[in-house]
Amino acid sequence: MSAISREEVAHLAMLARIDLAPAELDRLAGQLGAILDSVATVQQVAGEDVPATSHPMPLTNVTRPDEPRPCLKADEALSGAPEKEQQRFRVPRILQED
């Protein structure tokens, strides 16, 4: 009993730029469906008296003063980059975009 269709999984994969084979679409639709079913169960438990919430902690207005803190050095920042050039991250060109 899958709550998510194969087409929806394909759409999400496109948005996330992940190339999925047809077999993977079927498998993931099943797995994601199971996760959504579990969440649906939790939703059934929440009654009218439980408001929707985005954050588990009753916190608001956590801010910091506008004061600079140390940055990474450029070589540290770039240390995890598969490719770099001119002290910048080198990335493949993006197709079919402006």
Binding site: S54, P68, R69, L72, R88, F89, P92
Partner: protein
């Protein structure tokens, strides 16, 4: 109907502007992104300085490294609320950030932290004055907080555009700099003046943001950027509200006031040409070309713009306590347009005179100089005259000249007391700007003051008469215009430290003795 080039191999037809606006009514939406001038980024402590070496103002938070947690910059939040208040918006009592998910290398986190259905400020307006004094009220839909993206350099293509690029190089110094996005409601009723309204709105918004001190608002550096949405509806229908808004196009990154006006005008002509011939308007983003004054097709709006917004779990909600909002409201300056109207009336300047001061960035300096005791005319004379010239020669802003408004008042006081001529006053000013001290000190040190001792002046006049017999002859034969030559000789003799009117008096008295007057 004419055509203009639109990229390789395609041509866009455009309709004559008057015909277009006679047949159609433009509906505009303007989106302005303003970079705040906070010292640090929106969610981390990295500095926001413009022009730093690539990837030197980055940290785990703005690079989206695993485990890094953002914390909201209090100054960014306050600026957002102040902008909202200045735009007459309602401030949301409770609001959240949202993740705008998209996969593009300019955002290393794969989402932009933004606001979605709960903007911090909404439903406001800004009155915009057009060149003839007509006021158009721009309705504001929302102003929300978000963060800027990194900067990509496309390598291998011809012009830095992504088409034909082999790869891109990304600098994340800009990623995470606080942005406020200000979105208008669909603006209708401006008719053929729509391009003018668009320009005036962005110009007024820029003044307002400058007045609030929340941004550098430098369009050429990208700290203020504008996207123009445009659609047309038919004028033929009696009940315009029943006509659905046409499909809109979104022209991105129109980044000068002049370009905004031109881009709106061009899009009206292009849409009209298509609608006239029964063609559809494609919902798409378009690129503005400053050099040719046209837009070209970018990408079509598609499923790819499905951002799957959801509340940002790493940032807690913001609650606006009314007292806090009131304390911020107290810091909102008088709206620029109202202040201009008030000052112009108070100072008795013409529109043109005031506009010159505005363009020179001198309004606040003139106001402070008047406050310090100068007359409006004197304050304007110095700041839009000699001081403007000096600032230009030095390549600095007026406010960065090493002179205070009090010193300008002091200098003018010396002129008013007859102790300095305008020429001498300019020499004193040179000394002040050379940081030799205040006007009194410079005048004393450089020995600059009008010689009011008539015996010294008289002696100089005598010397001039003696040295210029030919001139004297002319004057005696009735050619009084020749007096100028003698006055010039005396002024040179006195090294400019004489009042020319007084010298003229003395010369004429010497050569043409008046009845009842004794010789000096």
């Amino acid at each position: 109907m004419t055509t203009t080039a639109n990229g390789p191999g395609t041509l866009d037809e455009v309709l004559d502007y008057d015909t277009a606006t006679a047949a159609f009514d433009p509906v505009m939406g303007l989106e302005v992104h303003v970079e705040l001038n906070t010292v640090t980024k929106m969610f981390c402590g990295c500095p926001t300085e413009f022009g730093a070496e690539p990837n030197t103002q980055v940290c785990p938070v703005c690079l989206g490294l695993p485990g890094a947690l953002p914390v909201l910059n209090r100054a960014g939040l306050e600026s957002a609320v102040r902008i909202g208040l200045a735009l007459n918006c309602r401030i949301a009592p409770l609001c959240r950030f949202a993740r705008k998910n998209y996969f593009y290398p300019d955002m290393p986190k794969n989402f932009q932290t933004s606001q979605y259905d709960e903007p911090i400020a909404h439903d406001g307006w800004l009155d915009v004055e057009l060149s003839d004094g007509e006021v158009y009220r721009v309705a504001i839909e929302r102003a929300h907080m978000e963060e800027d993206t990194g900067k990509s350099l496309h390598v291998g293509g011809s012009t830095g555009r992504i088409h034909g690029a082999d790869y891109s190089l990304v600098d994340y110094n800009r990623a995470g700099i606080p942005l406020i996005e200000i979105v208008t409601k669909p603006l209708t009723g401006a008719g053929e003046r729509a391009p003018e309204v668009a320009k005036a709105y962005v110009s007024s918004l820029r003044d307002l943001l400058k007045g609030l001190g929340v941004s550098d608002v430098k369009m050429e550096q990208g700290s203020l950027r504008c996207d123009v949405n445009l659609s047309l509806r038919s004028r033929q229908d009696d009940d315009q509200m029943s006509v659905p808004l046409g499909t809109r196009s979104e022209t991105k990154n129109v980044n000068s006031l002049r370009s905004i006006e031109r881009a709106v005008r061009y899009e009206i002509k292009r849409h009209a040409a298509r609608l006239r011939t029964g063609q559809k308007i494609v919902q798409e983003t378009r690129h503005w070309h400053e050099d040719t004054g046209i837009t070209t097709s970018g990408r079509e709006k598609s499923d790819a713009e499905d951002y799957r917004y959801f509340p940002e779990p790493d940032l807690v909600p913001m609650q606006s306590d009314p007292e806090w909002v009131d304390s911020l409201r107290a810091t909102i300056p008088e709206p620029p347009a109202e202040r201009r109207r008030r000052l112009r009336a108070e100072w008795g300047f013409s529109e043109a005179e005031l506009r010159d001061l505005i363009n020179a960035g001198a309004v606040d300096l003139v106001a402070a100089t008047i406050e310090a005791g100068a007359t409006p005319a004197a304050a304007r004379k110095w700041w839009s005259g000699e001081l403007a010239r000096q600032a230009k020669a030095r390549g600095v802003d007026l406010c960065d000249l090493p002179i205070t408004c009090e010193q300008v008042v002091e200098l003018q006081g010396m002129v008013d007391a007859g102790r300095l001529t305008d020429t001498l006053a300019r020499q004193v000013l040179d000394g002040v700007l050379a940081e030799e001290g205040g006007p009194e000190k410079v005048a004393a040190a450089r020995g600059l003051s009008v010689v009011s001792d008539d015996s010294a002046l008289g002696a100089a006049v005598d010397r001039a008469i003696e040295a210029n017999p030919a001139v004297v002859k002319k004057i005696l034969s009735g050619k009084t215009a020749a007096t100028g030559a003698l006055i010039g000789a005396v002024m040179r003799d006195m090294r400019g430290k004489a009042d020319a009117a007084r010298v003229k008096d003395l010369v004429l008295k010497r050569l043409v003795p008046q009845e009842g007057e004794t010789d000096l």
